[in-house]
């Protein structure tokens, strides 16, 4: 039983030890303010990473999420500033467009039996391209509701606060954990990722699940786009480039296997916090250059993959299976 959770435990241990090391070096690190900022700064990434975890659990991949975030911010800016829409109706429209876009990709992947990698790559080009067509400039959003939403936060003593983006991310992660482990959809997802043929023979609605999981990923990318536009107060078609890789990295560090069928949403969340922790540490240190973030994350990625491989080898050596999930 314990070995099912071992990757997750190791990831959590790295986060805790890393945080303690940071706090030992910089006493100001262990404050609610730093933790609150860590959550706020990574909120849009966290929301996207949840969708990515679902897609990867189902045995696929979604390269379009960064582009969908960028497109959503531009769409919001154009609708609110140039179209005169109320932000709430613009939010609804953006979510519908992003979710529909994901569903369309899922349908193409399922109906035409195409590799998800290349279909979502095309989706990435389409979403970025549509964003460019809407506007190549960064459009500031000046609606009063944006200022109000930006101020909205749960405040704690000592200057710490949980902003709306951070709360949204925590809500999404909690809902995703429930969805992955205690719903029919979640079970179908794991079955599909574990073995598509067996899942199909077991009666898992493969087509519906595939479409739903990409729709969900698109929807969450749309939500992340809304959060991103709240965070930056603008819409820009080049926003959030490379987010797909950041989220895939978080998923891998979180212990989910890219072959699908095995992993936890909460692991992704912890993986994301580790990435954020490295970034915060480098900001705190001040003398380290920003490229060390990339190198550190690359090394971390390598170590975690090796660890997973090692664990897998130990399990298969014993004749056991890595996971019955």
């Amino acid at each position: 039983m314990i070995h099912r959770f071992l990757p997750l435990l190791v990831t959590s241990a790295v986060l805790v030890v890393g945080f303690l090391l940071c706090a030992a070096q910089f006493p100001a690190f262990a404050s609610l303010r730093v933790v609150g900022n860590l959550l706020t700064d990574n909120a849009f990434l966290g929301i996207t990473a949840v969708g990515m975890t679902f897609v990867i659990l189902s045995g696929g991949i979604d390269l379009s999420v960064g582009a969908v975030i960028g497109f959503t911010t531009v769409l919001l800016a154009v609708l609110i500033e140039q179209g005169g829409w109320h932000p709430v109706s613009a939010f609804a429209a953006a979510l519908a467009v992003a979710g529909g876009f994901g569903a369309a990709m899922g349908a193409v992947i399922h109906v035409f039996q195409m590799p998800p990698f290349i279909v979502t790559l095309a989706g990435m080009f389409v979403a970025r391209g549509l964003g460019f067509v809407l506007s190549t400039d960064s459009i500031p959003i000046n609606h009063p509701l944006y200022a109000e939403l930006g101020d909205l936060a749960l405040r704690f003593d000592g200057g710490g606060k949980l902003t709306l983006p951070a709360l949204l991310m925590l809500g999404v992660v909690a809902a995703a954990v429930v969805c992955a482990h205690w719903t029919r959809f979640g079970a179908n997802l794991y079955a599909l990722g574990g073995n598509r043929q067996s899942a199909e023979l077991m009666g898992v609605p493969v087509g519906r699940t595939t479409v739903a999981v990409y729709a969900l990923s698109g929807l969450l990318a749309g939500l992340a786009g809304i959060v991103f536009s709240l965070y930056t107060g603008a819409g820009y078609s080049l926003a959030a480039t490379g987010v797909e890789l950041d989220t895939i990295t978080a998923v891998v560090i979180g212990g989910t296997q890219l072959t699908g069928g095995y992993g936890y949403v909460i692991g992704t969340f912890i993986g994301l916090l580790i990435q954020g922790l490295i970034q915060t540490y480098i900001t705190f240190d001040g003398s380290l250059s920003s490229w060390w973030t990339k190198i550190a994350i690359g090394v971390l990625l390598f170590v975690f993959i090796l660890l997973q491989k090692g664990l897998l080898a130990v399990w298969t050596g014993r004749g056991g299976t890595p996971a019955e999930a």
């Binding site: 991949i61 193409v108 109906v111 035409f112 039996q113 195409m114 590799p115 990698f117 290349i118 279909v119 790559l121 095309a122 989706g123 990435m124 080009f125 389409v126 970025r128 391209g129 549509l130 460019f132 067509v133 190549t136 029919r184 598509r196 043929q197 199909e200 023979l201 077991m202 009666g203 898992v204 609605p205 493969v206 087509g207 890789l245 895939i248 990295t249 891998v252 890219l258 072959t259 250059s289 920003s290 490229w291 060390w292 973030t293 990339k294 190198i295 994350i297 690359g298 090394v299 990625l301 390598f302 993959i305 090796l306 491989k309």
Partner: protein, 354 residues
């Protein structure tokens, strides 16, 4: 589809597409095919397509073989940045041309070796294995240049990017030479066959006596070398190395070129020349959009459209509805186990609802 219809007809879609794009460019821009000689170098839109398509074509040559082994190399853009950074930094430090070239290509070889070891020895999925270098590589390139855009004035190195040999621009010459050398290496020896065998089924090719780790490592090393050459060409062209932006997202363009060229992402049969043709199709479209006065913003959407059409033509579902080419069908088993008809398993299951 790509593997069930051997023969010359197989390559027609790619050449046809290139011809169609060039023709469309010519209709939009009547001077498209005019080439003039000036200062001992050819100029013209067609030359421009070849010249600007060279970096992606170079990447596509290496990427083709990686994809043929059923892998993918996401790190080529980062490797370009590394090789450019090494070349620019060492040139600025006063090294000669040959040591600089050797160091820069050596860096690419090392990157390829790292990827190859991860895939072949540690058996990490290629997409993840190369993701590591994609993330870390750009950091390494920035480490080499110390975050600066390093410029140089060495005419020898700049010649690689902007010079010409027998009136042909150097990037085009380099691409042609690398394509020729690669084609000789894989087609005149059994290497090409082994690469395809590994791509179709790694286990059974190992059983048949193919040294799969060596083949895989060789393929990734060659891909790293191609990426280093592409990085050199780009750095030499702009006489500087920008670790942040050199080769950014070019890995996706290279994969796209290979897929448009008809090599399946599921591995197996590959066409080096076709991948280069794929890169040229993409570049010709790009040039056409710029020439026709459309906003360059449409480029990405057009690219996605082409990609979808090519994929649809190769999709197993769609080929069921298309007429088969005449002649007996080779009795080859499909690469993937055929998926059972979807309608069957869904209907009888009681739990399918909800």
């Amino acid at each position: 589809m790509t593997r069930s219809a051997p023969g010359p007809s197989r390559n027609l879609p790619q050449y046809g597409a290139l011809a169609a794009v060039l023709l469309a460019n010519w209709l939009l821009f009547p001077d498209f095919f005019s080439i003039r000689l000036q200062d001992g170098r050819l100029f013209g839109s067609l030359i421009d397509v070849l010249n600007r398509g060279a970096p992606v074509a170079l990447l596509a040559i290496g990427m083709t073989m990686v994809i043929a082994t059923r892998g993918v190399d996401l790190s080529v853009g980062a490797v370009m940045a590394i090789s450019g950074a090494v070349a620019a930094t060492l040139t600025q430090a006063g090294w000669g041309l040959l040591p600089v070239l050797a160091a820069s290509l050596g860096a690419g070889l090392l990157c390829g070796l790292w990827n190859g070891l991860l895939v072949a020895v540690l058996r990490i999925q290629p997409i993840i294995a190369t993701l590591i270098l994609m993330v870390a590589g750009r950091g390494i390139a920035q480490l080499v240049t110390e975050g600066q855009i390093v410029t140089f004035t060495s005419p020898g190195l700049a010649f690689i990017g902007s010079g010409s040999f027998l009136t042909v621009p150097m990037p085009v010459v380099i691409t042609a030479v690398l394509l020729g050398v690669t084609a000789l290496l894989v087609r005149m020896t059994a290497l090409g066959l082994m690469i395809e065998a590994v791509g179709v089924n790694r286990l059974s090719s190992a059983g048949a006596g193919v040294n799969t780790p060596v083949v895989l490592i060789a393929v990734y090393v060659w891909c790293g070398l191609c990426a280093a050459v592409a990085g050199l060409v780009v750095a030499a062209d702009i006489r500087g190395a920008d670790a942040n932006n050199a080769g950014l997202w070019l890995e996706l363009d290279a994969i796209l070129a290979v897929v448009v060229g008809g090599t399946s992402l599921l591995g197996g049969r590959f066409g080096l020349l076709l991948s280069v043709v794929g890169a040229l199709i993409l570049q010709a479209m790009n040039t056409g959009i710029l020439l026709s006065g459309f906003k360059p913003e449409f480029n990405l959407i057009v690219k996605a459209g082409v990609l979808m059409v090519v994929l649809l033509l190769q999709s197993p579902t769609l080929t069921l509805f298309l007429p088969r080419p005449a002649g007996p069908r080779p009795a080859q088993p499909p690469v993937r186990p055929p998926t059972p008809p979807r309608a069957k398993p869904e209907s009888p299951s009681p739990s399918a609802g909800a």
